[in-house]
Structure formats: structure tokens, C-alpha cells
Symmetry: C2
Subunit: 83 residues, 2 copies
């Protein structure tokens, strides 16, 4: 996941494939819906900061907030067997 907006922060890219996949899925879905991060924040009852961090794969984000965001985008979380 290319961090194109990086200023000077260090981003640990090695954390988890799942995290990265979720982050990418959220960003892609947001763009499909032609929403800015700010709009998505408003629609999901979260803040701009949360959306930004979610899309950059921040590990420690709160599950229910993420579920709220997914719902706005017509997505869901599922538990599956590891491949």
C-alpha cells in the first residue's frame, strides 16, 4: 500500500496483510461511492482522523467504529478459515 501522502512519518508496512486488505477495501469502496474522507466520516458517525487512519491501516482501531464505516459503504466483516 503506497503511502503517497506521507510527509515524514514512519509507517510500518509489515504489520498484517489483513489490516492492509481492509484498509485498501475501505478506500476503494469510498472512491467507488465518490465520497471524500470527510463525507464518509460524517455518514458513519466518526471523524476525519478515524477515516484517515483506518485507510492507512492503523492497527489499533476500534472494531465497532470500523463496522459502522463498512456499513455505510455496503460492506461487512466476515470471519473465514485462513487460507
Amino acid at each position: 500500500m503506497a503511502n503517497k501522502f506521507s510527509r515524514s512519518g514512519i509507517k510500518d508496512e509489515s504489520y498484517s496483510e489483513e489490516l492492509g486488505a481492509i484498509a485498501s477495501a475501505v478506500r476503494a469502496a469510498r472512491r467507488r461511492h465518490h465520497l471524500t474522507q470527510a463525507q464518509l466520516a460524517g455518514l458513519s458517525g466518526t471523524g476525519l482522523r478515524f477515516i484517515s487512519e483506518l485507510e492507512r491501516g492503523k492497527p489499533s482501531i476500534s472494531l465497532h467504529k470500523m463496522i459502522s464505516v463498512l456499513a455505510v459503504l455496503g460492506l461487512q466483516l466476515r470471519v473465514v478459515e485462513a487460507s
Copy 2:
């Protein structure tokens, strides 16, 4: 999700189907592996409290910790289209 160990706490059962499904999946998988919550905590690098709350569907748990637990149980998180 029957709360069989409930003492006197009030449990909001209406929160999110996804949360409940994740919680149930974790508990079921743990039992399939014949692990106690304490053992699973040890294996996943979390604490007993976290496992207990995860299995009871606590909404605000931290995503990466949950992913660690799922990994021990041979499970993964996926984002899917909402049905």
C-alpha cells in the same frame, strides 16, 4: 448469543450482528481446539480479560489484537459485500 456466565451485568444484545458472529466464531473455534480462554490468551499474546470480552462481543476491542487471536485459531478477517 446466550450469556451463560452472566452475573448481574447488563449486556446489550442489539449492537451488531457482525460483532456477535465474530464473537461466536472465536468461541466455537477455541472449543474446537480444546483451549481455555487463558490458554488462548497466552498463545495470542493477549490477556484473559481481552479474550473474555472478545467472546462476549465487546464492541470497542482493538482490531489488531483480534486479528492475532484469529490467527492462533486458524481464522482470518475478510471484508465482503453486505448481503
